[in-house]
Amino acid sequence: MKHPLSLNLNGDMAENLVEARTSLLTFIRESAGLTGTKRGCEEGECGGCAVLLDGRLVDSCLILALEAQGKTVTTVEGLGDPHHLSPVQSAFAESGASQCGFCIPGMLLATTALLDREPDPDEASIREAISGNLCRCTGYTRIVKAIQLAAKLKHDGQN
């Protein structure tokens, strides 16, 4: 049986009928057609599918779509488009933090969640914040640098 679902997806209302067992990841990718959120494992182990649910970082593969009923979901597409990258995205670009790019949407959302709650994180907090996001390409070194730069860019942008 399908159930009506409506939620705020990157500022727009997204509505559709979904099966009770449909994951939020599948809803975002297949029903809403936003493929920036990545399916790396569907077991909550890689962080590729990370999104913000009411501002909180979650693995969308572990959440049922219906659990997001009436809530606000932010995906990578909600951060900034290719022509207007957000400070976090720009910091990743400038730092050479993206290689294959598959883990990057999740990394960007983990970073966004971190900087929203802790604008000036030290390196330990940064590492902690992305410890649930696997990256097989970069060795994380430049991602950590990018997050430090993102904090600075966001900070500068506000002054």
Binding site: T35, G96, R136
Partner: protein
């Protein structure tokens, strides 16, 4: 450091694909959504490591509403295919040889229906005894995985040697036995390494389409569009132009996306159902069916003289090739060429045997064979120095191969940078041989690595647009940021800005032949092709400028959109003018360039690792890491450094935690919870230094860089552990359990 005088080459230019990837708009294979109806495909895979298929009954599955097509081997021509040895089928006929071997495939309206249909296919298996260990495979009584091996076509490199040995390769020089007899000391040891998965974040995915004209289109997340196209066409028994392979963005490959996976199944389903069919592997399937790094068993014997010279060595290497001859054969073939290590050893014999087992077919993974062999070589160097009372750095220095060294295979090695990278890493880390144990349970280790990078053929086309901007057309995919480097090369030659150059990856029907994106070869192979194509463009522009400038081409140069006479800035003509002239006379300016297979280039790097060991738990914490790498010239230093970081962290994984574990003949850790790749918390601060000395024949002096920096990692860490706690674990990964046991045994 060499001084660059270039505008683009050598600059830390951001990747040209940043905007699309950072905005989540890059289209990976699973993101493809063809217009109109698309079906979801799933593959039925063998649950047994070795079995005969007595019968397959698909009737119940076909009756399920929403199922559009089911295919088995009956839907395909009777063809054996392979990259090295034609030993496998796109779908099994009568035998399955590993858990995950493809048996049948289903296409349905939804993934859920396809999943349900898989459960309704009845396969009657007769289980056969499985061979799960490379040594068991060598036994006379071992079941033969491929009893008809002698009849298989050798496609390339394979040297089948009977029994379960799908390749036997050996090279030698001098007389090692005699030299051992004369040596002052002889050391023997055995090192083993686990089977490890590339664990790219994007699982394999493809989309198959049967075109109205009967030809096929397949989109795939592959490193090897042209090779894969050939295998798919062969499996379908059609000519190669009838399969158009469209490479997608690729979410990491590291050698694991070269082999054929489910592409033929998707195309057969598309043909039978009349709809495009997409097959996306789950993470579990990818662990079961990927093509991991082979586990090695390495018996190493070394003879030294009292003046700290290596005089003789034998290496007897057994590789677990898995069920089919994938890259394991390539590794076996290549081993005798690089397993001499960075050293000059007068008496040497290297024997490699790749054997079939009932495990996933092993293949290439970043410097295939490199870190395994280096683990043995560099562990031995440290051990021998310790036992002989020698300074381990001096011992290495004493034996490093000189420039112009002639390798076991008879090739002359140019640009040997072994001593330079050793010195650079010592300086960067402040390494002192008498300070390798700064405190109890803390240790510092070093390893020198060597690798031979790349060489296969490529062609490229550069077209000049009517405003003088340029487009590079290539059939190679971008794994490492190499497209940015290619753009830099084109921009450099034509003196263009980066945004005046586009790099376009085309499908196999549109692009000229391209090498595979593997073997650290794209920058050299496609880089050379692109360089020549761009020079061809420049040549045409200069020819067009002879008349207006009244000067010979040899005196011309390109400068920001003009061709001008060198040393006479006033005498110039805009490229756009020349293009106008071209249109009226010779036609549009299009350059082409190509490079053939080329001699592999040696590459060196030295790594230093700091560890702290908890002797009670055996837990190893990396506290610092330093790496030098010989790069020729870094066309893009940020990209190069990124490759080094990534390689080191993959090396850390295979050294300390990663291993595919088989229990009861089945893979027991087919997920990221049980197969632990490093997270950010496992990564120490890493410092790198690039050793630049232009390579004789790389484009702008560049050498390939993707693979070499993984080579010294296991040995550097193992040596650090040895200095920290005085024990040596000779099998990778060095898990806390193994290390704890070794520490207890010593106490």
């Amino acid at each position: 450091m060499a001084a660059h005088t270039y505008n683009q080459v050598g600059k830390p230019i951001p990747r040209i694909d940043n905007a699309s990837k950072l905005a989540g708009q890059a289209i990976f294979a699973e993101d493809l959504q063809p217009a109109g109806k698309m079906l979801h495909g799933l593959v039925l895979r063998s649950p047994h490591p070795h079995a005969r298929i007595r019968s397959i009954d698909t009737a119940r599955a076909e009756a399920l509403p929403g199922v559009r097509a089911i295919v088995t081997a009956q839907d395909l021509p009777d063809r054996l295919v392979g990259r090295y040895l034609a030993d496998e089928r796109a779908l099994a006929t009568d035998t399955v040889r590993f858990v995950g071997d493809r048996v049948a495939a289903v296409a349905a309206d939804t993934r859920e229906v396809a999943q349900e249909a898989l459960g309704l296919i009845d396969v009657d298996y007769e289980q056969l005894p499985a061979v799960m260990d490379a040594f068991d495979a060598l036994e006379d009584i071992a079941p033969l995985l491929h009893p008809r091996m002698a009849e298989y076509e050798v496609v390339a490199m394979a040297a089948p040697a009977g029994g379960n040995i799908c390749s036997l390769n050996e090279l030698s020089r001098g007389d090692p036995e005699k030299a051992f007899a004369q040596a002052d000391r002889v050391f023997e040891e055995v090192y083993t390494t686990g089977m490890v998965h590339q664990a790219y974040l994007e699982p394999h995915a493809c989309l198959g389409i049967h075109n109205p004209d009967g030809s096929f289109t397949v989109h795939s997340s592959t490193q090897a569009p042209f090779q894969l196209r050939g295998m798919i066409a062969d499996a379908l028994a059609v000519s190669h132009n009838r399969v158009r392979l469209v490479p997608t963005e690729i979410g990491g490959g590291f050698g694991g996306k070269i082999s054929m996976q489910d592409e033929v199944a998707a195309l057969a389903l598309a043909r039978k159902s009349g709809y495009p069919v997409r097959i996306v592997m789950t993470r579990r399937e990818d662990f079961l069916c990927g093509t991991p790094r082979a586990g090695f068993h390495i018996a190493i014997k070394t003879g030294v003289s009292n003046d700290a010279k290596l005089i003789a060595r034998t290496l007897d290497i057994l590789l677990d090739g898995g069920a089919y001859a994938h890259g394991g054969v390539l590794v076996s073939w290549a081993l005798p060429n690089f397993a001499e290590g960075p050293y000059n050893i007068p008496h040497l014999r290297i024997t490699a045997r790749c054997v079939y087992t009932n495990k996933p077919p092993s293949s290439a993974f970043r410097a295939p064979g490199g870190p395994q062999v280096n683990f043995a070589i560099e562990s031995e160097m440290e051990r021998i120095a310790a036992e002989m009372g020698w300074d381990a750095v001096d011992f290495r220095r004493n034996n490093l191969m000189p420039d112009g060294h002639v390798s076991t295979s008879g090739a002359t090695m140019d640009c040997v940078m072994a001593p330079e990278t050793l010195d650079a890493a010592l300086a960067l880390s402040g390494y002192k041989t008498d300070q390798t144990r700064p405190a109890p349970n803390r240790g510092r280790g070093l390893a020198v690595g060597n690798w031979n990078v790349g060489g296969m053929a490529s062609a490229a086309v550069v077209k000049l647009n009517d405003d003088g901007s340029a487009t590079l057309l290539t059939g190679v995919v971008d794994l490492t940021g190499v497209h940015t480097a290619l753009a830099q090369i084109v921009a450099e030659v034509l003196d263009l800005a980066m945004d005046q150059v586009t790099v376009k990856t085309l499908d196999t029907e549109s692009a000229p032949h391209a090498t595979i994106a593997a073997g650290s070869q794209v920058l050299k192979s496609m880089g050379d092709a692109a360089l020549r194509a761009t020079e061809h463009v420049r040549e045409q522009l200069f020819a067009l400028a002879v008349e207006p400038l009244d000067a010979p081409p040899s005196r011309m140069e390109l400068h920001q959109g003009d061709v001008r006479v060198k040393g006479a800035p006033g005498r110039s003509v805009p490229v756009t003018n020349l293009l106008g002239r071209a249109m009226a006379t010779s036609g549009p300016v299009v350059g082409q360039g190509a490079t053939g297979n080329y001699k592999r280039m040696p590459s060196f790097g030295t790594h230093v690792a700091d560890v702290e060991v908890d002797p009670d738990t055996g837990q190893v914490q990396l506290t610092g890491y330093w790496a030098s790498q010989d790069v020729g010239i870094a066309v893009n230093p940020v990209a190069v450094e990124g490759q080094i970081h990534g390689a080191i962290v993959q090396g850390i994984g295979m050294t300390l935690s990663e291993e595919m574990i088989f229990h009861d003949d089945r893979l027991a850790n087919a997920n990221f919870l049980d197969y632990k790749i490093p997270s950010v918390l496992d990564v120490p601060p890493i410092e790198t230094v690039l050793v630049e000395q232009p390579a004789v024949d790389g484009p702008f002096g560049a050498k390939g860089i993707g693979e070499p920096p993984i080579v010294p990692v296991p040995a550097a860490i193992a040596n650090a552990i040895f200095h920290a706690v005085g024990v040596r674990v000779t099998s990778l990964p060095i898990t806390p359990e193994k290390l704890r046991k070794a520490i207890r045994a010593k106490a």
